[in-house]
């Protein structure tokens, strides 16, 4: 695989883009997911319906179509150009938020009723009870799901290829095209994805163990 050494900078650039989009997507997805979960639980019927439409759209439509809409269709309609990288950050954040909202809401509901009542009983407001009692427990329950999130999001970023953004898969295609060493190139690219996903899953595991509290665990 010596030929690949020449292309390492290209691969590295692509890898960094993939990593950036993935990490940004998962973290923004988490922040947005928390807000959506709270809004869904407390916002009343209209807000819940809007959130459901949003979630169904992002979970129910192919990622490629979402990219086409946000990268080609909408900018075209508005007569403007948006950077592929920016669209990537946006799409993957919204996408991850749609999934994470589900996990977070579920976890909040699981700890909700008794812990909210207990919180109110000492004089906390509902908002305080959510911040100091419900979320710290719910988020701990959600951490294992992040492995999944990182894994699927990382793989999804390959779809950015259609926008011409130079992420890892795009780098692979370029190298394969230039060298005609198709098998070696793609195996090498696949291994990079695999290593990256494994590292992220390990980190999530470590975080989970680090913040784990006896009594708050996922019951199998």
């Amino acid at each position: 695989m010596d030929f690949l050494i020449k292309y390492l900078p290209l691969i590295f650039d692509g890898f960094i883009t993939t990593v950036e989009v993935t990490i940004f997507g998962v973290l923004m997805g988490l922040a947005l997911g928390i807000l959506l979960a709270i809004a869904d639980l407390y916002g009343g019927r209209i807000i819940s319906t809007i959130i459901r439409i949003y979630v169904e759209f992002f979970r129910g439509s192919p990622l490629l179509i979402q990219l086409f809409i946000f990268y080609f269709a909408i900018p075209d309609l508005l007569h403007m150009r948006i950077e592929a990288f920016t669209v990537g950050l946006l799409i993957f954040s919204l996408n991850s938020a749609a999934y994470q909202k589900g996990y977070i809401k579920g976890a909040m509901e699981a700890v909700f009723e008794d812990q909210m009542t207990a919180g109110l009983s000492i004089g906390l407001s509902k908002a305080q009870a959510i911040v100091y009692v419900i979320l710290p427990q719910a988020l701990r329950l959600v951490i294992p799901a992040w492995s999944n999130e990182f894994c699927s999001l990382t793989k999804s970023t390959a779809a950015l290829l259609v926008t011409g953004e130079r992420e890892l898969t795009a780098a692979g295609r370029q190298i394969a095209g230039l060298t005609f060493r198709i098998l070696e190139t793609w195996i090498f690219i696949a291994i990079i994805y695999l290593i990256w996903v494994s590292i992220m899953m390990k980190i999530v595991d470590i975080v989970y163990e680090k913040v784990k509290i006896p009594g708050i665990e996922i019951s199998a």
């Binding site: 700890v111 919180g119 906390l124 509290i213």
Partner: protein, 269 residues
């Protein structure tokens, strides 16, 4: 002046949200209705400072709902609740502040599972009473000491027995220096041995003159500490009186039957 407010004046005073009385907590004509189910039916009750009253009655009779209405953890459908003369059921009242003045201990314990025993007690002190971290720590530790849980201050609820968790629950309520503590069957989720340690804690509180309204079926304990017992059935008060009245000669038929069953069970244990 408090005691001389006439009946007709009372109404006028009530409209501005205060009612002068030497009673610590009071509810008048309290109702709680869920759809077609009447959980609490026309209950009026007074508790004086330092007094201990014990509510008992069949399960499903609305005792828990009644207690939650008093603590404003659910809003009564009708009727009023007063704490130190202040009406808690009037519109526009700061419910969080009101709840902070009423300690509540739950039947199913409900500690904050992500916090240590100390953290459980500190939370309200820090976020509601706005004490500094140091002050909150000291007050919380003192409260844990009162329930003999200081040794377990840094344990999480998941590492404690049910009885220990319930004592943390009591410390959590106690630390807020509430005007009154309401306890909803604090021992019914525990086995007899653990029940004993919680009862000992409550006995200590009673000695210190803590005002308490306790839902419980621990009859020997009731006889020992309660000034008055309240028999509750089908959402309302059937009979009230000193413990001796219930142990020797309950007036109502229903209380008589219920007491007979309870005493039989207590003897078996």
């Amino acid at each position: 002046m408090a005691r001389h407010v006439g009946k007709q004046k009372k109404e006028a005073v009530r409209t501005v949200g205060r009612k002068m009385t030497d009673t610590l907590m009071e509810c008048t004509d309290l109702w709680k209705i869920y759809g077609k189910i009447i959980a609490v039916k026309d209950v009026s009750l007074k508790i004086r400072e330092g007094e201990i009253k014990l509510v008992f009655g069949p399960s499903g009779s609305g005792k828990s709902t009644f207690l939650r209405c008093l603590a404003m953890l659910t809003t009564p459908t009708k009727g009023e609740v007063f704490l130190k003369g202040e009406c808690l059921t009037r519109p526009g009242i700061d419910l969080n502040k009101a709840r902070a003045r009423i300690g509540f201990v739950f039947q199913h314990i409900w500690p904050f599972r992500h916090l240590t025993a100390l953290g459980n007690v500190e939370l309200g002190l820090r976020r509601v009473l706005k004490l500094s971290k140091k002050e909150a720590g000291e007050v919380a530790m003192q409260a844990l000491r009162e329930v003999k849980m200081e040794k377990w201050a840094h344990h999480y609820p998941g590492q404690l027995s049910g009885g220990q968790q319930q004592r943390v629950g009591i410390a959590r309520a106690l630390a807020m220096k509430p005007d009154i503590i309401l306890l909803d069957e604090p021992t019914s989720a525990l086995d007899p041995e653990l029940t004993g340690e919680v009862i000992d804690t409550l006995r200590d509180l009673a000695k210190k003159g803590t005002t308490m309204l306790i839902v419980s079926h621990e009859m020997p304990f009731a006889r020992e500490v309660a000034e008055e017992m309240i028999f509750f059935d089908e959402g309302t008060i059937i009979e009230t009186g000193p413990p001796e009245q219930f142990f020797t000669n309950p007036k109502s038929e229903r209380a008589k039957k219920f007491m007979a069953r309870l005493i039989k069970r207590t003897k078996r244990e």
